[in-house]
Symmetry: C2
Subunit: 487 residues, 2 copies
């Protein structure tokens, strides 16, 4: 028997915990991904894109791509009709494009442990994904230090709680406190344990890719095989970087083969610091990116026709003085716009973008650069927006504050991409009940503000739209909105 006081405390504790859980549930009650309702931005016309496609074919035909230390890959290419000299593979014009267009899916579902969080990658969809790869973490209290598995867990939890991030990501930071040969187990397990959003697999060795697939089979159990098709469901997306220029290495090829054979998705991403790994010109860089991505995606289709692939682009420019990469700058933005158009013409999903910056701190430089990249990526039509949140210092550090601010920006972009509501109630304004035009939805408090700013209201105001619904603007969560205002 408890006293009333104890019971009250118990209830209070219980109520507190319940409320906290309810808030947590609300926090993770996310729109699974963004459905785009605005047009794409196309920076080049069809003629320009055709020139770049022609040039990519010339690169593939005359220069070719190295497939290193992988005899099976060379054999696959030889059988497909490519010219293989040593490890250099040269491709008849149009071969890679045909392989991709014949069997790569234009759109696919990445299944999450929680089916409500499964995402559809490709088409008019945008999936926002945390940053990938930093060996350091940073916050304003403790500064920059090596990342640990605790940091990794923190970022998985933060991504899980963020409404605007649709994905748990992959190497959200490198847990360098764990041995390299076992680290991938802890990373994949952490995504499984602390999130039910979709996640990315290990690519640092073919056997680690196999471990990822094996763990996914345990996690999904009977659900791993789609009863409708008898095929494996796609449950991990994996980052296969080209070793630009013009090279795929053994590690990446090995991981790609494992994932393709298990029907898991490969993001084929030329990694470009333009001027170092590619021509310094935008048009030349775009041609090289297309050539590398085509070769990689076609290779996946040789391994398993129909395995999901994503055309990836990570392009930065570099300072020609120091060699340091720069972000939020115009040439990579132009490259990204072109690559997005090329991916649509190929009919495959597109990965790029993110809150990229060179700054070491979550400061104004970081924000200008991140916003420039995020917004351009959204306008370009990126489907899989890797590095959306947390990126600092050219990818060397994952920032806690940066993560929160970027997640806020992702939420903003979700509204922008959601389009302009042109339904009758939104665009207008004639009340059936009142029989006259009503253009204002203004609560009493706002009438006062309006009076202060613009003199007396001259029009009738009303507190509801014509069908009684309400509409509010997007507001940031991470910054104050109580600044002064000035006409």
């Amino acid at each position: 028997m408890t006293t009333d006081g104890e019971a009250r405390r118990g209830r209070r504790r219980g109520a507190g915990r319940d409320a906290k859980l309810a808030r947590a549930a609300a926090g993770s009650a996310t729109q699974a991904y963004i459905k785009r309702k605005i047009p794409y931005y196309e920076i080049l016309n069809a003629e320009g894109l055709e020139i770049i496609e022609h040039n990519a074919d010339t690169i593939l035909e005359e220069i070719g791509i190295d497939f290193r230390d992988d005899a099976e890959a060379l054999e696959l290419w030889r059988a497909a009709g490519a010219d293989v000299q040593g490890e250099r593979v040269r491709f008849p014009r149009g071969l890679c494009r045909k392989l991709v267009m014949d069997s790569a899916p234009a759109i696919f579902t990445q299944h999450a442990r929680n089916p409500a969080n499964s995402v559809v990658i490709g088409g008019d969809n945008t999936v926002m994904v945390p940053a990938y790869g930093p060996p350091f973490v940073h916050d304003l209290d403790k500064g920059r230090r090596y990342a640990t598995i605790e940091d990794f867990k923190n970022f998985v939890k933060l991504a899980y709680m963020s409404k605007s991030l649709h994905h748990s990501g992959g190497t959200v930071c490198e847990p360098v406190d764990l041995p390299v040969n076992k680290r991938h187990f802890d990373m994949v397990y952490t995504h499984m344990r602390y999130s039910d959003k979709p996640f990315m697999g290990s690519v640092t060795a073919p056997e680690r890719a196999e471990d990822t697939v094996a763990m996914a089979k345990i996690l999904f159990g009977d659900e791993f095989i789609d009863p409708a098709t008898g095929q494996e469901k796609t449950v991990v997306v994996n980052l296969i970087n080209a070793n630009s220029p013009m090279t795929f290495d053994e590690t990446m090829l090995g991981a790609a083969k494992v994932y393709a054979r298990a029907n898991q998705a490969c993001v084929i991403s030329p990694f470009i610091l333009a001027g170092a790994m590619s021509p310094v010109t935008v048009a030349g860089t775009a041609a090289q990116i297309l050539a590398e991505a085509l070769a990689g995606m076609a290779f996946v289709q040789l391994v398993r026709p129909g395995a999901p692939v994503v055309f990836g682009t990570f392009a930065s420019s570099i300072s020609m003085q120091s060699g340091a990469p720069t972000f939020g700058s115009p040439e990579p933005t132009q490259v990204m716009y072109i690559a997005a158009s090329l991916a649509r013409r190929l009919g495959v999903p597109f990965r790029s973008g993110g809150g990229l910056c060179a700054s070491k701190l979550p400061d104004a430089q970081a924000a200008y650069e991140a916003a420039n990249t995020l917004q351009a990526a959204a306008m370009a039509g990126v489907n899989f927006m890797l590095h959306t949140a947390g990126w600092l210092e050219g990818g060397l550090a994952m920032g806690y504050e940066k993560f929160m601010m970027d997640a806020d920006q992702a939420s903003m972009l979700g509204v922008l991409l959601g389009g302009v509501d042109m339904s009758e109630n939104r665009h207008w304004m004639r009340s059936a009940k009142l029989g006259r035009v009503i253009i204002f939805w203004v609560a009493p408090i706002l009438r006062q503000i309006s009076k202060v700013h613009s003199g007396d209201l001259t029009l009738r105001t009303t507190t509801v739209t014509s069908n009684g619904s309400r509409k509010v603007h997007w507001m940031p969560l991470s910054v104050p909105t109580n600044a002064g205002n000035r006409p």
Copy 2:
């Protein structure tokens, strides 16, 4: 007679001064404005834009616009066929549009004292202009304080020295240390004295507009009249804000009349905090903006057919809790995209955009918000980008550091808008001399970097493009570019 030492010191001083002047001259050797070579972003299709145009006509016909305390304005409207009841003017459908389309120029030149700095406003051109109106200034050393004429001079000088700003602006800050009734003399004089870029006139009273025109006549002298047309050259652009909702007041109408009669340009800008001065919906706000801008621009054409006008938009959303305006948010971006399309359909230049933010400091919030607005404005096709540099705190403060950072962003946008060079030499890559494909322009230092990042280069590198020209990437001036990099 001087000693050698004195002579040396003299020479050194002289040399130093000469070098400084040379640097200053180089600093102000600016591209006069940006010629856009990339497509506009159109967020709505023609059907959507027609709905908004229809709704604007409905507002003009059924609700009308107040023209306050200006009997002459009402008389002009009566004579033009509008329905005038008291100060409320209602317009037959299409009247305002016809007045604008019949005589407002699609494009015009604003002449600068230095003809090399004259700007062409409209068409595919973008002119970057400093922020306008803040009564406070801010820098990190001295914090926030009331602006003075010294601050005003500083910002005029900074805009003059900035390669990426094409205009001296207007009220770059309010010099509150000067009496209100004489302040405009000092402001206009400062633009004339410390800059030879184009500038804006006073609109705070009709007689101050007259003073501005009189001063411009003194400045330009015989050049004020264009010998080819016998008409006044347009030498000042002036900001005529609608007193939204649906009102033009005596001050703005008086200034507009003075400037129109002198063939000077009026930017007719509905000033909207959406949800307070306009409907909370994007489509409703866009219709109201078009109605107000049409009425204002048509009024200018009644005063003097052919006088240059600019369709202006300043739209922000507000927090429905506090009433504070927000910037860098998605709804105003959508409104701006729509308004830019509407201006193109009308065939008049468009003003909007700028480095808008709510933050009180030049921090990450300021940068995210400013970058979001600047980039969207560039993609939308803003011709006259007011508030490009310096804006803080919802326009209450002009920030020194913010000005420099925003000017850097303007430079970046200039490159983005400059388009993708698809000339043979840029997009490709077959050396006539060598008779083979060359895709790299890589200096020796960069070859090293490339090796570090991507293994040995597998392709032949060369130090020049096929015609021997060089190309470098845009680099920011205001931030370090020596951050680490990570594949």
